[in-house]
Every structure is written in structure tokens, then in C-alpha cells.
């Protein structure tokens, strides 16, 4: 068991620690003063945050439906929602472009609205939502399932409507699952590269910039950007976990 633990820790942490320690402090400082790097990291966090919020708004009612209702085709729908986790990510990018293209009614409608997908922040957010949404839905559905339906029934019998029941009973008992869903969704979106590089090479996100610097200039120039992306993500996730843990102590 000890050997297994050490192996897992080495496998996960050694490359990350190496990545953080490799660039000199001077190089790290110089990198973070580069406006392109700052813009790329900010875009990654900003677009991923938007994708997480969209997943929260769209995915939460859907997760509730999956947790509470039985209907024909439910298993199929549950499998379908996991598809973005399974299929190669460039395929996701290609699929989104094919729908948003000039030959597809959706693409034509978006063009009529003046919405551009290819090479835009909008396209980027759509791609990140696509890849992150299943993580949010799955985490939140598990949370809803853990709340006995009878609590909601009793709440309704006491006079609370559906909305009041959700906010007074269901949400207080599941908000940690929502936070975990947001963390998972955000994490997945920040790390996305394969689909993003197809839909929006520019404006450049941090993973695309790391890839570009690696292919154009080599490991030395890509490492500091990667280190800053890891640091920014780590700070964000520590804050979210801290919020979740603080709530756990105060039910």
C-alpha cells in the first residue's frame, strides 16, 4: 500500500513540481510581466468561469430532472451527457464548427444575429461549456440524489411551492455539490486544448500559448507560462475548496 501511495504521488506531483521549480524566479517574473501571457491566462480563467456559470444555470435544472424523474430514454440521455468526456476533443471542436458553419441552419442563424464562433471568445466559451458541462451535471445530480425526495414532499405539504422548496430545502443540502460541480467544470475548461485549438486558436488561451511557445521556441519558453497557469489554477481551486469546507462545518 505504501509503495502504491508513493508511486501515485510521484506520478502526479513530480512533473508538476518540476514544472514549477524549473524556471528561475527571474524568468517567472519576466513572464508574468508579458502582457500576452497575462491576457492568455486571464482569458483562460475568464472564459472557463463563464463556461462554469453557464453550466450552473443550464446544467443544474437538468441534473435535478435526472435525479428526480424517471422517463423513457433517461439512460440514453445520461450516456449522451457523458459523451464530451469520452470523445477526442478535436472532434468536439470540429463538431461545433460544423454546426456553426455557413452551411448549417444554426450557423446561418448565428450569422444573422451577428454572432461569430470561429476565432472568437463566444466560440471559446461554447467549446469550454461543452467539455465542462458533463462534470457539473454529474456532480450536482449525485448531490440531488442524496437528498431524500420526502424532504421536498413535506416542504410542499407545508405550503412551500417548488421554487421555495428548492431554495429552502434542496439547495441548502446540495450547495456543496454545486461548488464541487463548478470546480470540476472550471478545472476541465481551464485545461482544455484539443477543442479550443480547432475553434479559437486566437484569441489565445494559456494552453494554446503554451503549445505555441513549445513548438516555436522549445521547452524553456513554454515552462514559465505553464507554471503561472498552474499557480493561478491552484489559487482558484484552493479558494473554492476552502469555501466548500467552511460550509461543511456550518450546515
Amino acid at each position: 500500500m505504501a509503495a502504491s501511495t508513493v508511486s501515485v504521488l510521484l506520478l502526479v506531483f513530480l512533473p508538476l513540481v518540476q514544472m514549477l521549480l524549473s524556471p528561475s524566479p527571474g524568468l517567472l517574473w519576466e513572464t508574468i510581466r508579458d502582457k500576452d501571457v497575462l491576457r492568455a491566462i486571464w482569458l483562460s480563467l475568464y472564459a472557463s468561469g463563464l463556461a462554469a456559470l453557464i453550466s450552473l444555470v443550464l446544467g443544474t435544472p437538468f441534473a435535478y430532472l435526472l435525479a428526480r424523474r424517471d422517463f423513457r430514454g433517461k439512460k440514453l440521455l445520461e450516456s449522451a451527457i457523458d459523451l464530451p468526456i469520452m470523445i477526442p476533443h478535436p472532434v468536439i471542436g470540429i463538431a461545433i464548427l460544423s454546426v456553426a458553419g455557413a452551411h448549417h441552419p444554426v450557423g446561418q442563424f448565428l450569422a444573422w444575429l451577428g454572432v461569430r464562433i470561429m476565432g472568437s471568445v463566444t466560440g471559446l466559451v461554447i467549446v469550454l461549456t461543452f467539455v465542462g458541462l458533463p462534470f457539473h451535471v454529474n456532480a450536482v445530480r449525485t448531490g440531488f440524489t442524496a437528498v431524500p425526495e420526502r424532504l421536498e414532499k413535506v416542504s410542499r405539504s407545508l405550503g412551500a411551492g417548488m421554487t421555495a422548496t428548492f431554495f429552502r430545502v434542496t439547495l441548502p443540502l446540495t450547495w456543496r455539490s454545486l461548488v464541487i460541480g463548478q470546480i470540476m467544470c472550471l478545472a476541465r475548461a481551464i485545461s482544455e486544448f484539443g477543442a479550443v485549438v480547432i475553434v479559437a486558436y486566437h484569441p489565445m488561451t494559456a494552453p494554446v500559448m503554451i503549445y505555441e511557445r513549445f513548438t516555436a521556441y522549445g521547452l524553456e519558453y513554454s515552462l514559465p507560462v505553464a507554471a503561472w497557469l498552474i499557480i493561478a489554477s491552484l489559487v482558484l481551486f484552493v479558494i473554492l475548496r476552502w469555501v466548500s469546507a467552511a460550509g461543511e462545518k456550518r450546515p
Partner: protein, 345 residues
Amino acid sequence: MIEVRDLNLSLPGFALREVDLSVAAGEFFALIGPTGAGKTLLLEAIAGLTAVDSGRIDVAGREVTGLPPERRGVGIVYQDCALFPHLKVRENIAFGLRYRQVDPAAGRVRVGELAERLGIGHLLDRSVTHLSGGERQRVALARALAVEPVVLLLDEPLSALDPAFREDLRFMLKEIHRISRVTTLLVSHDFGEVQYLADRAAVMNQGQIEQTGPVEEIFSRPRTPWVARFVGVKNVFACAFESGRARLGDSRIRLAGPPSPGASHLAVRPEDILVSLERPGGPEVNCLEGRVSGFTALGQVLELQVEAASVVFRCQVVRQAPLDGRFQPGQPVYLSFRPEAAHTL
């Protein structure tokens, strides 16, 4: 007060079919039946927590079939209490008050009074996760009563409790009903509980109501062989009727009156049969000769199986240590019971 007419409700693998039920205002009514009979589903249909396929439900003279649960005025208490774990006892009890437009100060008074009446006044500021089973059930009851429902539905509220707590709460339920006169519909498996609490009852089986009537009538005069067996009448035999008597094998069983129309069975409660080693006197008593074929000890009672009139009767005798050797297998005995104890179904 509660009128259910021709109610149909289908779920995967189960259905309520053509359910009719009528509960009078202020009545304490019991729904009894085996597990999976549909009792809880019927309760939830009345509360609006499960949608029905067809039929009509009226509560307090108003049709509520299409109304959402929050507009029916029906309170429900489940066996597992379903207390809100994130709220304290006080917050649980006060949960529904804001939807009844109760002034906060009046609400606090009402919560306090209810808690005192139910013996949980000292627990108001506790978390519900630290309560015993009996305390949890009292909180659930207080929460349902706080909103002053027109109908109170109790889904086996006592069955998960220890016997001592169960008896306390049983008395409390009776007292609360006596004071509030709230129309109450109780689901229970416990016949003693039903006999103590309820005025009338309905027996459910496989999504249908088999019999409705005063509790004593259901237990003493079940209308179908299934209900008879369910309420503990262990001697239910198919028989023919001739000249106002039941023919069981070669024996003619005297009845108190003419057999009920369409009757095909005879039912006798085990506790109504006297088992003796000598033939009892009295021409008006049914007396059958038989032979003990086996026995089972049930606490202070010995249940004898006696072959008589081509069937096996189950009878009960009180265990008496010096005499327990009387009824060994093969022992000839006499079974006697009054015509009033012989029911036709």
C-alpha cells in the same frame, strides 16, 4: 372531509385501481394492508405529491385533484420523519408558518405551545440530527400541526419506534386528535394501534380497497377470505351452505343468522374456539370432534392445529405449566364455538 372517487394511478409495476374512500370531518381513519398494497401512494395522491391518472379527490368540500400540494391544506408525517437536517427543531416546526401568513410573534408562540404540548419544549434549539426516534417523530408531528392542516396524513408514524416510545406517542396522538379534531388518516400495520386510535378503517390489497367500515367490524366481520386472513382470522374454509348451516366435511355448523349473500367461506377466529378434552354441554354450541396434529408456542399462548371436519383448525389456549402436556399430537379433543363466532364470507 376526504372524498376519493374512482381514483386510478399507474406507476411502473404498480397501480391504484378504482379507489373509493370517504373520511368524515374530524374522523380518525386508518388504512391497513400488507407492504406494497399502495397505502402510502394513496396518501401521497391525497396530499398531491403524486399525480393521478383519473378520478377525483375532494378535501373539505373542495376539489383538489389538480391542485399542487401547497394549496391543499393537507399535512403529512412520514415514518422516517423527513425532518430538515439543516434546520434546528424550532426552524423545522416553524417551516410552514410563513406560507400561512402567520405573524412572526404569533408563530413563535404557536411553536412554543406545540412543542410544550408534545413534550419537546426543551429541544427547540437543538439540531434535529441529535434527537432520538421518539423525539424526531414528535418534531415531525409538531411541524405538520403548526400549519393547522384541514387533514393530517400519518404514514406509519409509530412503526420505527421502540415499544415504550410507541405507546407514549400513541396516547399523544389520541389526545391531540381529541383536542384538535383534525381529520386524520393513519397508515398502519399494527392492529392494536388501529383499534386504539381509529374509528373506521379501510383494508387495501394490491392497489384496491377490499373493505371499509368500523374498525371492530373489519376485525370481527371481514367480508372476504383475504381480509379475514389479513386481520388474523386463521380459520377460513371454503364450504357449502344448506338450510342455514355451513357444511364442513360431514359436519353442519350452526350460524347466528342466514349466510351473507354469495357466501362461499366460513371464518372462525382462533381465540373464539374452546379446546377441551371432554365434550362441552349445551345444544346451541357448535362442537366438533378432532385430533391434535401439532402445536406452536407463541409466548404465553399455545397455538394448536386440530384436524376436525376434514380441515385443520387453528386454536389458541393459554399456556399453563402444569397442564402443558395435555395437547400432544394425536390427542383427541373437542372444539366448540358459538354460532355468533362463525362468520360467512
